[in-house]
């Protein structure tokens, strides 16, 4: 595991792509395939199931370090990372366990799940006694189910290609599904990544997804409207459906096989000719409706482990196709977009309709209707574009509608994690219960309790600010702290933020009675005094305009 830990630290410390690729290549050159197989699995996004509950890890760390629980928690709050906190509080190692990564994974880490609590305790303590601080950090990440690293899958593929001499696109293609949970990598599977296909059966092997960037400015900068195809950007689950050898496979964007969860789509795709692969969106869509159901309904269905008749009837799912990657068993990805679309329509597969406004202003007008259609905006794809790999700039763009927004007051802050540890980066926001008459009334309400004027918390957000802005807010949080509860600080409110979100709906779980979807900070409103922040009524009005979204979208199956 030493080599992998050193690689992780090198990747974690560097911000240079070149340096990361170089570190990966050095590691691959020095590592037997059996261990490289695991390294690639973990770096490309594979996450072993949590082998030890985090509560148990915390308790064991307190025991091994001889610390009261509250003191351990204080250290955890300062690091913002459980694995780091555990690695640092434990006493120095007593002996040395120096085993390769594959043995760690297969003999020590994966079997933990099957052990009873007493045996698990012994195994974890033995591992800690034999590992250095950095190795313990890695061990906790791997058993706690929280392993993440700052490299993209594309970068791993590039390093594999440069190191092995195999073509990167081919590696990307063969790597689809490599990181599936519960299919541990082996030396054979690793070697297969690097070996060109001999033309045999490909089974359910999907293609890498092609992703779009957000359009940075106005679409007129893209040139002629007629060179671009515009289609609605649906708010469901992006998926790839493979039909080969009389069988159907459905893959999520996270490269998980989700075939069993969508029997209606399997039924539909089983009528397609063999050798057909379609990229599209899975949507909950009731029969006879002109637009899809809110994402919340799809989410409800995803949340069910068993698909009862009732849920199938309540939330029927259908596929709306965006693209055709393979037909008649031939890879069509390099053909122009307009031709792939034409083939798709010929096959009679329900396809996301084109928006046919003649010019950019016309398209902008059409886009205004996105919320009523329950779509997120438009996708712009160049007529001649190929279906690429990963997120490439230039030929596909997301052109989403502006988010809903309100001006809200920061009332609580919590330190972030990882790079943002020890900085107050996660905030809770509130709006007024009613509009304050003036600044004086607002100030008085901050000191009083029980009056009719109060700040009502309704959302948490942690993204959208620049590093400089975060530092500024962090200073302000420290300056205005009124109370600390563990890692959370209550502040005397001084700052107003414009908060954006995608959807809003009534909620019984929230004190405000309202839940917003994907809240984030759009900007700091230095120009807004506290008493001019928005009110609960502002939120209720927004609820009447937009389609209903649902807070806290299911992350595993979330689309792009």
């Amino acid at each position: 595991m030493k080599g992998f830990v050193a690689l992780y630290l090198a990747l974690d410390a560097s911000t240079s792509t070149l340096a990361k690729v170089a570190a990966l290549k050095r590691y691959l050159a020095a590592t037997p395939p059996r261990d490289a197989a695991w390294a690639v699995y973990l770096l490309a996004g594979g996450t072993p199931r949590r082998a030890v509950p985090t509560g148990e890890l915390r308790a064991l760390a307190c025991e091994a370090a001889g610390l009261p629980e509250w003191l351990f928690e204080a250290g955890y709050a300062a690091t913002g990372d459980l694995a780091e906190a555990i690695a640092y509080v434990l006493p120095d190692p007593e002996d040395k366990l120096d085993e390769p990564l594959s043995e760690w994974m297969e003999n020590r880490i994966l079997p933990l799940r099957a052990l009873d609590a007493a045996a698990r305790r012994e195994a974890v303590l033995a591992a800690w006694r034999g590992l250095s601080a950095d190795e313990r950090f890695m061990f906790v990440k791997l058993v706690g189910g929280g392993f993440r690293v700052g490299v993209s899958k594309l970068l791993v593929q590039r390093a594999l290609a440069e190191w092995s001499g195999a073509d990167a696109a081919g590696i990307a293609q063969r790597m689809m599904g490599y990181t599936q949970i519960d299919t541990p990598p082996t030396a054979e599977r690793f070697q297969a990544l690097l070996t060109e296909d001999a033309g045999g059966s490909r089974g359910g092997q999907p293609y890498p997804f092609f992703l779009a960037h957000a359009l940075p400015g106005e679409p007129s900068a893209l040139g002629n409207r007629s060179d671009w195809l515009a289609e609605w950007k649906y708010d469901g689950i992006r998926a790839q459906v493979v039909k080969r050898d009389g069988q159907v496979w459905i893959w999520s964007r996270g490269e998980e096989l989700v075939t069993e969860r969508f029997p209606e789509v399997v039924l539909e795709a089983s009528t397609w000719p063999d050798g057909t692969v379609v990229d599209g969106e899975l949507l909950a869509w009731r029969h006879g409706e002109s637009e899809p159901a809110p994402f919340a309904l799809l989410q409800k269905r995803i949340g069910r482990t068993k698909l009862s008749k009732a849920i199938l009837a309540e939330a029927p799912v259908r596929l709306l196709a965006y693209d055709l990657l393979e037909s008649e068993g031939v890879d069509r990805r390099q053909e122009p977009m307009h031709l792939r679309r034409a083939r798709l329509e010929q096959l009679g597969i329900a396809t996301s309709p084109l928006v046919d406004a003649q010019d950019w202003p016309g398209l902008a007008t059409a886009r205004e209707a996105s919320r009523e259609r329950r779509v997120e905006g438009l996708m712009l794809k160049h007529r001649e574009s190929a279906y690429g790999v990963g997120r490439v700039v230039g030929s596909w763009w997301k052109w989403k509608v502006a988010p809903l927004s309100v001006d809200a007051v920061l009332i609580y802050a919590q330190a972030g994690h990882g790079r943002r540890a020890n900085l107050y980066t996660d905030y809770s926001f509130a709006v007024w219960s009613r509009a304050p008459r003036d600044a004086a009334e607002a100030e008085a309400a901050l000191d009083a309790t029980g009056g009719d004027l109060a700040l009502v918390p309704f959302a948490k957000a942690y993204s959208g600010l620049t590093d400089e802005e975060i530092k500024r807010v962090d200073r302000e949080v420290r300056r205005t702290t009124v109370e600390k509860f563990g890692p959370v600080r209550r502040v005397r409110p001084t700052m107003v933020f414009e908060l954006g979100f995608e959807g809003i709906q009534a909620s019984t779980r929230h004190k405000s009675g309202i839940a917003v979807r994907f809240p984030r900070m759009l900007r700091i409103r230095d120009d807004k005094p506290l008493h001019e922040a928005d009110t609960l009524d502002t939120l209720r009005e927004l609820m009447e305009i937009g389609p209903q979204g649902q807070a806290d979208a299911g992350e595993d199956l979330a689309d792009d």
Partner: protein, 342 residues
């Protein structure tokens, strides 16, 4: 008996001696624990400090500042108390204040560093525990996640990084605070068998000079000037204050790798925010075991905790059966990662 040291708006105050300790607002009589800016501020009527600190303080306060020196262990009667200074192991001339009044002894430790096994710091006198009734301690790294490896080990890691830089044809830029940290680095890395030349920033050179004047045998190192020809220097190590990161001054070095030496580098988040190539966990403050062993060694039954993570240390000491409380001070910046002066 009333408390010997209390907190006033100007700083910590000893009433029977009528002096302030490291005050943050101007006062008539100040006793200074060490020369770092947040403890030794301008504008006081008179300053009393450990003799070796005077050169450093003069560099900060000017030649005509009213400074007076006292040797370690030397007793001085001030008002109704007897004051003596004892090594704190933090930087040159850093002192714990022992204050005795009618048989009661208080020790105000200021910032301190407790050497671990295998540590060898030649740049200042090592921390000496002083028995007392009440101990006033810092808590910059007052959480159990802060446990330092012996500094000799960290110096070896730094040396390996430096050699690695040299092998890649890069200069090595190692940043650390110019007073105290930089001298530890110079002493630890500019050794007779160093793998390449060591240079220092002019700010470090000035303080090195003050160390030498006080009798510390720092190895000789060149100072970086506008004329320094980095092209002709291969595999150099440059020791400089943190402010040079990404500056034109640093760019003049040509291709280089940068690193930061600080206790805050323990945290991965702080390391990544700092965005240096390497973060070395190298402090001149006590780590958690150091704080606890220092407190234990004083035999004090009452402990007052200042700047840092007071809350956690106070609660922990209370659970150990000591009488513990906190003083809010304006030294450093509480638990604020790498922004804090260390």
């Amino acid at each position: 008996m009333p408390d010997l040291v209390t907190r006033r708006p100007q700083g910590l105050y000893c009433e029977p001696g009528d002096f302030y300790i490291d005050p943050w607002l101007p006062v008539a009589r100040a006793v200074i624990t060490h020369a770092h800016a947040d403890h030794c501020r301008p504008g006081h009527g008179t300053y009393l400090a450990q003799r070796d600190a005077l050169g450093l303080m003069r560099a900060r306060l000017g030649d005509d500042a009213p400074l007076e020196g006292l040797g370690y262990g030397e007793a001085r009667r001030i008002g109704d108390v007897t004051l003596s200074l004892h090594p704190a192991g933090h930087v040159l001339g850093s002192a714990q204040l022992r204050i005795e009044h009618r048989g009661e002894v208080w020790v105000v430790a200021g910032d301190y560093f407790v050497s671990g096994a295998g540590d060898c710091n030649t740049t200042c006198a090592p921390f000496e525990p002083v028995r007392c009734d009440v101990f006033v301690t810092e808590s910059t790294f007052g959480l159990p996640i802060y446990r330092w490896a012996p500094q000799t080990e960290v110096l070896a890691e730094m040396r390996a990084w430096w050699m690695d830089c040299a092998a890649q044809g890069k200069q090595a830029l190692l940043m650390g605070y110019s007073l105290g940290k930089a001298q530890r680095l110079v002493a630890g890395l500019a050794t007779a068998d160093a793998p390449g030349p060591v240079l220092v920033h002019a700010a470090v050179a000035r303080l090195n000079a003050a160390y030498r004047e006080a009798g510390i045998a720092l190895p000789h190192v060149e100072t970086v000037t506008p004329e320094t020809n980095f092209k002709a220097l291969r595999g150099a190590l440059v020791i400089a204050p943190p402010a040079v990161q990404d500056s034109r001054w640093a760019k003049a070095m040509g291709a280089h790798s940068d690193a930061f030496a600080s206790g805050w580098m323990r945290l991965r988040g702080a390391r990544r925010r700092r965005s240096v190539d390497r973060g070395f966990v190298f402090s001149d403050h006590a780590d958690w075991p150091g704080l606890l062993s220092a407190i234990r060694a004083t035999g004090a039954q009452r402990v007052i905790v200042t700047h840092g993570d007071e809350g956690a240390l106070v609660r922990y000491l209370t659970e150990l059966g000591l009488q513990a409380e906190a003083f809010a001070t304006e030294y450093g910046d509480e638990t604020h990662g790498v922004e804090a002066a260390e």
